[in-house]
């Protein structure tokens, strides 16, 4: 059995779970699609964005508040968790990437993603699929129920 801070679960963990399903998982799929199309530059670029988002999720899980926009995210990572920047800057150059480079980038993302998933206490089904859409709405309503029980305002669904 594990116990969790309920406020952390209702805010940081929920935001990470939703970031994974709405944004991060899509970029990781895009790496695979780009590799299949032999577009290695796009595969590496998507890997960079994926690592950046994984770093952002790590910030949240470690209790930091939600940065607003890319500049705030990068600043928060630089100040609080610079190790993610090592992974990001270690990626091969996108413009000149070949299949080996793109595969290396994919593996780096997969490793980081497995580490992230191990820390998230719940997952949200893939919202942007016919099978996952309605189950994801049920998870959303459970999150709101938890927040209401804690006296929190409704979740800010701003994932653009």
């Amino acid at each position: 059995m594990k116990s969790y801070d309920p406020g952390w679960m209702a805010e940081q963990a929920a935001r990470v779970a939703w970031t994974c399903t709405i944004t991060l998982d899509g970029y990781i799929e895009d790496i695979d699609a780009a590799m299949a199309a032999e577009d290695y530059a796009t595969a590496v670029e998507c890997a960079g964005t994926s690592l950046f988002l994984i770093g952002y999720c790590s910030l949240l899980l470690n209790g930091h508040q939600n940065p607003d926009g890319e500049e705030e995210m990068l600043t928060a990572l630089t100040v609080h968790e610079p190790r993610w920047l090592d992974d990001l800057c270690a990626l091969p150059a996108a413009m000149t990437a070949d299949a080996v480079d793109a595969e290396r980038a994919r593996q780096a993302v997969n490793k980081a993603y497995r580490g992230l998933r191990g820390r998230v206490p719940f997952t949200v089904p893939m919202v942007r699929t016919p099978q996952g859409f309605f189950p994801s709405l049920r998870v959303a309503s459970e999150v709101e129920k938890l927040r209401s029980a804690l006296g929190l305002e409704p979740f800010k669904w701003d994932f653009d």
Partner: protein
Amino acid sequence: MNEPPPQPGSIDDCLQTVSTTAEELHELLGSVTDGGDLYLVGSLAARLGTSRSDIDIHIFTDDEKSSDAPMMFFRDQTIVDLRFYPRRMPNRACEELADRWVTLPFGQCSLGATPAPAAQTRLSRWATSVPFADGAPALLSPAQRMSVARTLVRAALEKTVRFAALGELFDHAGMDSRAAWRRAGRGAVETAVRASGEIFAGSKWLWAIARRAGLDTSFLVSADTCRSVEDFHAVTRLARLDLGPADRLVRVSPSEYERFRLSGGDFLLIGKGQLCTAPPSHALEEAPLHMAVKNSRAQLVAELLGQRLLSIRVDTDALDKAIA
């Protein structure tokens, strides 16, 4: 600068990528679209999508209420994403754009303030949209598309300046600045891409679009590997753009906070979820970034940005002077 980007091919040319047609989509969507003018937007309209891309459709109606909240349908495993807007909204949005611009070595760039990011995204989609109906007019006129293009060049340049300013700040603070410079290099590419006429520039398509735009390979490689201020200067030399130190083009402003005096010291509450020890009050004053660094320590300014007690924005007038 190139002419406004040519209108893409027919709607069915664009939809072929995801193996569907306009007629099939009309059947799927049914009466939801009655009374509206449908336009394909996004990566498929910009001829960048793949077989796994979403189908993004904007529908313009006489209803004056608008919302960016999407309505989602599914065609097999493909998402069909609908958003509804008032018919007059694209024209109104273009009327609000700056009407002054300058011609820079890489293209035209607007002067003055830029619209909010959500508005920029809408404008880039509208400028590259494809009508569903045969013979229907383009959503924006060529003159409007040029105005959008200049605005998006300015927006990309401002983003480049903000990240370059962060790179300078982190260098002064002895922090790892590589990611900030990496992002500034990408910002330079995005600026050049938009200036070439490729208005739609979603981040993951950056290199595909840059190649399609025929940008100089040495510039692209230099920008891609940008990890330091020296690298960034090499990038801007290749782009023939010298703005001087970026920290003179951005300002820091304090965020809203509430002060609590507890025994042991002063604490600041930011939003409802973050409490930190209060810095010296002069560190929370609005100022150009280079002055904020001079008055406080660079490391303190970086920490205050990281704690969201300060935020940065481009000084519109300073950037106008630098490029005009």
